[in-house]
């Protein structure tokens, strides 16, 4: 059955029927690809978490921060790995859902657009950290508008929006629980123990990681296609 399916797959992609060995190789390739993608996404997530945490730290940075790289790891040690794992999950989830829905994301699928998306995401964080807003409502509203703008500019898919909302909600809830249980703390919570702009940041992050994940998945797809052509 599987073989038949693979044959069908290869016919669809316009290649000659592969031998059994190459089919196995393709499966192995797929797994390896998945692992590589996950690892990449994890690393990106960890890196972004560290950098953005630095940005947040600067909000109440001392005048003369301690030298060296101590400030990078100023937050709890488990935060970056968590972010990395979450981003890996999100980045793998997006193309998967696209595939399930049968409508691959085609809007602005190129690396430059992804880079732009990441830059805007960092910019949103930057704004939340650096810009002085009159009050928190203004901050939250601005960030929400920016996040929705990010989705409209770079994603524009309903699945992306839905997943973004869902994950942002879950993440905020988790953070809320963590803070409530005292595992995590903010310097100045403004809304029920958490910062009110947190969902916006989560949403923008989900969109960004989804974009990266989709782009990586597309790369894998291309590789597979090329391989079948070579076969």
């Amino acid at each position: 059955m599987q073989q038949k399916y693979s044959q069908r797959l290869f016919y669809v992609t316009g290649a000659v029927p592969p031998r059994q060995g190459s089919y196995n190789a393709a499966i192995a390739d797929q797994t390896a690809n998945l692992a590589i993608r996950g690892l990449l996404l994890f690393l990106i997530g960890v890196f972004l978490a560290l950098v953005l945490n630095l940005l947040q730290v600067q909000r109440n940075v001392t005048l003369f921060p301690p030298d060296g790289f101590a400030s990078i790891f100023s937050s709890a040690w488990w935060v970056p790995p968590c972010c990395g794992t979450a981003s890996a999950v999100i980045g793998l989830l997006y193309p998967c859902i696209d595939r399930l829905l049968g409508e691959p994301h085609k809007f602005k699928r190129e690396w430059s657009s992804v880079m732009r998306c990441v830059a805007v995401f960092v910019g949103i964080n930057h704004a939340s950290a650096k810009v002085d807003f009159a009050n928190n409502v203004q901050l939250s509203l601005t960030l929400a508008a920016l996040s929705i703008g990010l989705w409209w500019t770079f994603d524009r898919s309903c699945s992306g929006l839905g997943l973004g909302f869902a994950i942002a909600f879950l993440a905020t809830l988790t953070t809320q629980l963590l803070v409530y249980n005292g595992l995590f703390q903010y310097t100045s919570p403004d809304f029920l123990y958490v910062r009110s702009w947190l969902p916006c940041i989560f949403f923008a992050g989900v969109i960004t990681m989804g974009s990266i994940g989709r782009q990586l998945a597309m790369y894998e797809y291309k590789v597979v296609q090329e391989k079948t052509h070579q076969d």
Binding site: Y11, S71, A119, V120, L141
Partner: protein
């Protein structure tokens, strides 16, 4: 026409003209743009340079007032940071001390021990200095900056730096300001050095801090050359009290007079420090820049198919950067001072403005047809994308405007910059980038063109059918118009070496990668080695050397006057090398000791210090200087002369221990060569300036000339283009697609509309409504043969006659000598296979090719006497005729009905009322393989014609007359016929070598054997029904396709069936359509696609019979389907051609066709699509959906739509214009070069 469309047309027209303008005057426009950029950037000169170096402002001491907190109305003079009191006033007491005269008994340590020792008395002097006047008594304690604890991290400095008191430092701090400790210190140098950090450290050290002068300057070392010790006592004052300081100054000067000291003391310098960037801030900054670089990299990577990728990428980056600069410049000009940190928001601005438009422009221009003139290409490319560019820009402006209403000052400022940046970016794109692009396109060469063409122009080579025994097929015509393509490797080989190197670089993007890696490494180094320090160092270097920062520095201005003075070296003393000035100076001063001199560089000795000196000094006490300033007062010079005896007295017992032999180095100071060099440099500068001015003048004159004497640019092209607007198939954007006219080979001859077309690459068979079949040479367009309907009718009538013959077979059995036919006849099962053709027609003139076209081949019954020359075939024809006459007397009226006709009668054949009996059987299907034409008729008759260059003879026919043949497939030696009643017949075509001539001779009704020159003289073509599937479908079969050993039928009954060709076995019945099947595609790779009346397209797996994908693409029937390796192309009754991704089933794009030309398209190669239009054909890039070119097929066919379009193997296209055909060779994309 809605407002929107009007606007759209206006915009694209405007862009078109603008493109013409840009491409016509590239140089003046670029110059104009450059001037604009420079003008807009001019206000930037007033802004401080980016960087965190301190800024200075000098005021006079005499009339110094603490600047007011609010900025006064005189902005020109003082910088905007100069308001409010400074953090501190820095007063330095500069001490120079030397042991004089030097004694040989002295050891090197003596050179600084006792001079340093003097600091304690001086400190006491300063501390205890009290100034009393009418306003009260003031001491240092009252005025100085009181400091509290050191920062917690600085415990080890606690003993050295003052705490809880006046901030007053001196070298005495090493010994806690206690003379006893100093005297008992056995090793002064060690004490000083032990606090120095190890390794590379460029920021302020403790030694610098306490000594107050640069480390090398102090003279506290064993091998100091001139044995002058320099140090300062630095005090930070909270308040500025002129009288106290004045009295202190005069007191110190009086106590320790400095001879020959001519320091000017009327200036105080205010130093403003910028915000510092720590690691925590640097990392996000670096991250954003990395993202920015990646963005630029990935964006510019997409620039392709131009002459110089690098040039265009550079131009794109320059466009964005200078638009940002212009934005800042304009904002500054209109009085808005930037408060945001430029370095931080810069990446975001770039990302917001983006490189997209530039790339879109490039792609659009590049994808215009290359055979046009450059300016037309630019204009078309521009107007092509005008709407999307304007739309994007409007959207971005809207988004930014929304951001403006957040009412957050920082965001508002950002938005303002972004808006101005967007507008100026648009301006630059339109003027600068377009022009650069036009220059680049102009430079594009053939080599670049070759790279972009599809790899193969033609279809896969013709299948080697067994039915083509022709010995010498004509070689494919090497036409200059066909796209000649080799494999990429081949093409590369032909390139010159230089180009290959460039291509290699471009392909591997070596330079880009090196730059990226270099940047990353550089940033890494920056991070690793104390970022603040290195940047400090660099900034200090820059501020020292830049003319802007150094303009106010006196020591730079007078530097050439003291050529021997090493700015970083020790004091400006010239001991031996240049004795005369020193001597004379000494002589004139009289009592001045040798070695101590005061120069202008001593005025501001603090400049030599690291510029982080003061920030780190204050930072020890948690006082930041970021965004604040300090005022540095003029130094108080103090000179000590220590006698050798005094020095000896203060010597510590251990000092002599490590006294090295005093080396007397003559130290040949380099003679000052500065002056002549200076003049030389000036000369060069003047020369360069003159040259530049000359070049500028020439360019200006050139521009003027070009502007005053304009060429008549682009006029013809535009009119040419506009003329045809409206009747083009792709006029969506209101611009004229590229047009070119070629004269196709017109194949005329049919009197009525052409119904069927069939081709196998070499030959082309067409059949019109009148039933006339013409065979054309696909290479030359010559009409090779005409099989008129009359003849066929004649044949069919003879078939009918033979049919009757079949019924009374018993009577004629003796004559029907071929066994097969006999058996079938005898069976009489309504299925009499007739392998007979019009027997006499070809036999008469078979050996006379010139006459063939003139001969009405229906004259089978022509009396032999009319063709006396054709002797070889004549006898046989006569024989056959006689046989007919003998054995079928009943049919003779039919034969004799047409009177003997003149040879030229053929022209009017179609009009001629021929047979009285209505054998009106139109040809419904036509297939051509090798030399055989198979024609399926509405009467249900299958005819297989043997065709040769000299004959068109019916070789066999098969008739059951039950139901019309709706579709035919001819594969290898099998013919499959689908009938209206849903049955499917499989025929096998056999070519039998003759068993003996007699057999044929005896059977006049069997295949005709004219003495054909090539091959067929001996062959017998027989067509046997091997199998008939009676109920293949419930309803009429509409489509039939065969490939790869499969026969696929589609029917009105909504199903598709797959048969195996060999054994006619039905493999699958594919259900999935909700309407009748109208189109099927199957090819060698077993890709099966079907389209139905419901507008759906299904892709099937032929092996398993499962449906792979199912999309709805058309309103109405799907009329035609073609698959390539990557996509599926379909056309429908809605006159849309849709291109789908084959693997995902996503619609990539669609092409709107003109009415009636919906189904006319063909695929030339995997990336070249050709569609028919009103009197024209258009070529499209299949991968991108770009219109490459539109070709008009002559004036005569204008206005008529292309109904059918067949692509031949040799990349020729056959278009069906009603009653005539056009044979078009794919116009070479390289035509321009011819």
């Amino acid at each position: 026409m809605t407002v929107r469309e009007k606007l759209r047309q206006k915009i694209s027209a405007g862009f078109y003209w603008h493109g013409l303008l840009c491409a016509s005057y590239p140089v003046p426009i670029i110059l104009f743009t450059a001037v604009c950029i420079l003008t807009c950037c001019y206000p930037l000169l007033k802004l401080p340079l980016p960087g965190t170096g301190p800024v200075e402002f000098t005021t006079g001491v005499r009339d110094y007032m603490v600047p007011p907190q609010e900025p006064s109305g005189d902005p020109g003079e003082r910088p905007d940071w100069y308001r409010g009191p400074p953090v501190a006033y820095i007063q330095q007491v500069l001490v120079k001390a030397a042991v004089s005269p030097w004694d040989n008994r002295l050891v090197p340590v003596d050179a600084f021990r006792s001079p340093l020792g003097r600091v304690f008395s001086l400190l006491d002097e300063i501390r205890n200095h009290v100034h009393s006047d009418s306003s009260g008594v003031r001491s240092l304690e009252a005025l100085c900056l009181q400091v509290t604890d050191l920062l917690p991290g600085l415990r080890r400095m606690q003993a050295l730096l003052p705490e809880h008191g006046c901030l007053l430092v001196s070298p005495g701090n090493y010994w806690q300001n206690q003379r006893e400790l100093f005297d008992s210190d056995p090793d002064l140098l060690r004490t000083v050095q032990q606090y120095e950090p190890k390794g590379l450290h460029t920021s302020a050290t403790l030694k610098d801090l306490l000594f107050g002068v640069h480390g090398k300057q102090t003279g506290v070392s064993l091998n100091s050359r001139n044995r002058v010790v320099t140090y300062t006592i630095t005090m930070a004052l909270r308040h500025y009290d002129v009288r106290f300081l004045g009295s202190l100054r005069s007191r110190l000067k009086q106590l320790h007079p400095s001879a020959n000291c001519s320091l000017r003391e009327e200036h105080m310098v205010h130093v403003h420090f910028k915000e510092e960037i720590g690691v925590a801030e640097l990392i996000p900054l670096v991250t954003t820049y990395i993202i920015l670089f990646a963005y630029i990299y990935f964006s510019t990577r997409k620039i392709d198919m131009v002459k110089s990728k690098w040039g265009l990428a550079l131009a794109a980056v320059v466009t964005v950067l200078s638009s940002l600069l212009m934005s800042v410049g304009l904002c500054t000009l209109f009085g808005l001072t930037p408060t945001l940190n430029g370095g931080e928001i810069f990446p975001y601005l770039v990302v917001v403005i983006g490189l997209e438009n530039v790339l879109v422009l490039t792609k659009s221009v590049v994808s215009t047809p290359v055979d046009l003139e450059v300016k037309l290409r630019i204009a078309q490319g521009l107007s092509n994308e005008s709407w999307s560019i304007m739309k994007n820009m409007a959207t971005e402006l809207c988004i930014i405007l929304i951001g403006y209403f957040t009412l957050v000052p920082a965001i508002q400022e950002f938005c303002l910059f972004a808006v101005v940046g967007l507008v100026s970016d648009f301006f630059l794109q339109m003027l600068f980038f377009t022009t650069v692009l036009s220059i680049d396109i102009r430079r594009m060469e053939l080599a670049d063109l070759n790279r972009r063409l599809p790899a193969e122009a033609g279809m896969p080579p013709a299948k080697p059918g067994p039915l083509r025994p022709r010995e010498t097929p004509p070689p494919p015509r090497p036409s200059p118009h066909t796209i000649t393509l080799q494999t990429p490797a081949f093409r590369n080989l032909r390139l010159p070496k230089r180009l290959r190197v460039v291509y290699f670089l471009a392909r591997t993007r070596l330079a880009q990668r090196i730059i990226m890696a270099g940047t990353v490494i550089w940033i890494g180094i920056l991070l690793y080695t104390d970022p603040a320090g290195l940047r400090t160092y660099l900034a200090a270097q820059v501020s020292e050397q830049s003319p802007l920062g150094g303009a106010g520095l006196p020591h730079l201005a007078v530097a050439p006057v003291f050529p021997g003075g090493d700015p970083t070296g020790t004091l400006n003393v010239l001991p031996q090398a240049d004795p005369t000035p020193a001597l004379s100076e000494n002589l004139s001063q009289g009592h001045a000791p040798p070695g101590i001199s005061w120069g202008p560089e001593d005025e501001e000795g603090w400049r030599r210090l690291s510029y982080r000196h003061w920030p780190s000094f204050f930072s020890y006490y948690n006082i930041t200087l970021a965004k604040r300033y300090i005022s540095i007062l003029p130094v108080i010079p103090v000179t000590f002369h220590v006698t050798p005896r005094e020095a000896l007295e203060t010597r510590h017992p251990q000092d002599t221990r490590h006294a090295p032999p005093l080396q007397t180095d003559p130290s040949p100071n380099a003679l000052p060569h500065g002056a002549p060099v200076q003049t030389d440099l000036t000369l060069y500068k003047v020369a360069a300036l003159g040259l530049a001015a000359g070049v500028l003048l020439v360019l200006l004159l050139f521009c003027l000339y070009r502007l005053l004497c304009p060429r008549n640019y682009g006029q013809n092209g535009v009119q040419h283009g506009r003329r045809r607007r409206g009747d083009l198939p792709c006029d969506d954007y209101g611009y004229s697609p590229p047009v070119s006219e070629i004269s196709p080979l017109l194949l005329r001859g049919h009197n009525m509309d052409i119904e069927c077309l069939a081709s196998d690459g070499m030959l082309l068979a067409s059949c019109c409504l009148a039933g006339q079949i013409r065979v054309w040479d696909a290479q030359t367009g010559d009409c090779l043969t005409v099989i008129p309907n009359h003849g066929l009718r004649r044949c069919s009538s003879s078939g009918g006659w033979e049919h009757r013959d079949g019924w009374d077979a018993g009577a004629v059995t003796d004559l029907e000598t071929l066994g097969g036919a006999e058996g079938q006849d005898a069976g009489g099962a309504g299925y009499p296979v007739r392998r007979r053709a019009a027997p006499s027609r070809p036999t008469l003139f078979g050996d006379q090719p010139d006459l063939t076209a003139l001969i009405d081949t229906s004259f089978g019954q022509q009396p032999p006497s009319q063709a006396p020359s054709a002797s070889s075939g004549f006898d046989f024809g006569g024989l056959v005729e006689r046989a007919y006459l003998e054995h079928e007397p009943s049919v003779s009226p039919v034969f004799s009905a047409p009177p003997p006709q003149p040879v030229q009668r053929r022209r009017s054949l179609g009009d001629q009322p021929m047979a009285p009996t209505d054998w009106d059987s139109a040809v419904w299907a036509l297939e051509l393989r090798g030399n055989l034409i198979a024609a399926g008729r509405s009467s249900g008759k299958l005819e297989v014609c043997l065709w040769d260059a000299v004959e068109g003879s019916l070789r066999c026919s098969n008739e059951d007359g039950v139901s019309g043949i709706t579709a035919l497939a001819f594969l290898n030696n099998r013919i499959v016929a689908a009938r209206l009643n849903g049955s499917l017949d499989f025929f096998t075509v056999d070519i039998n070598k003759p068993l003996g001539l007699l057999q044929y001779r005896g059977g006049p009704g069997r295949g005709s054997m004219p003495p054909s020159p090539c091959y067929s003289s001996d062959d017998v073509i027989s067509c046997q029904l091997t199998r008939s599937v009676q109920c293949a479908h419930q309803k009429p079969i509409t489509v039939l396709r065969a490939a790869a050993g499969r026969v696929v039928t589609g029917s009105q009954d909504h199903t598709v069936r797959v048969y195996r060709l060999e054994d006619s076995c039905c493999l699958f019945t594919l259900q999935g359509h909700s309407g009748g099947i109208t189109a099927i595609y199957i090819d060698q790779t077993m890709v099966l696609a079907s389209g139905g009346q419901d507008g759906a397209i299904c892709l099937w797996d032929v092996l398993t019979g499962s449906r792979v994908s199912h999309v709805y693409g058309h309103r109405g029937d799907v009329t035609s389907l073609v698959c390539t390796t990557s996509c599926v192309i379909s056309s429908g009754l809605d006159d849309l051609i849709c291109i789908w991704d084959r693997s995902t089933g996503i619609k990539l794009y669609s092409i709107q066709q003109v009415l009636g030309c919906g189904a006319s398209f063909g695929v030339i190669s995997d990336s070249l699509l050709v569609t028919g239009g009103q009197g024209c054909v258009s070529f499209w890039d299949l991968n991108f959906g770009d219109l490459l070119q539109t070709v008009y097929l002559g004036a005569s066919s204008e206005g008529q739509g292309v109904r059918q379009l067949v692509v031949l193997d040799n990349a020729a296209i056959v278009c069906d214009f009603g009653s005539e055909l056009s044979l078009v060779y794919v116009p070479s994309v390289l035509e321009k070069l011819d």
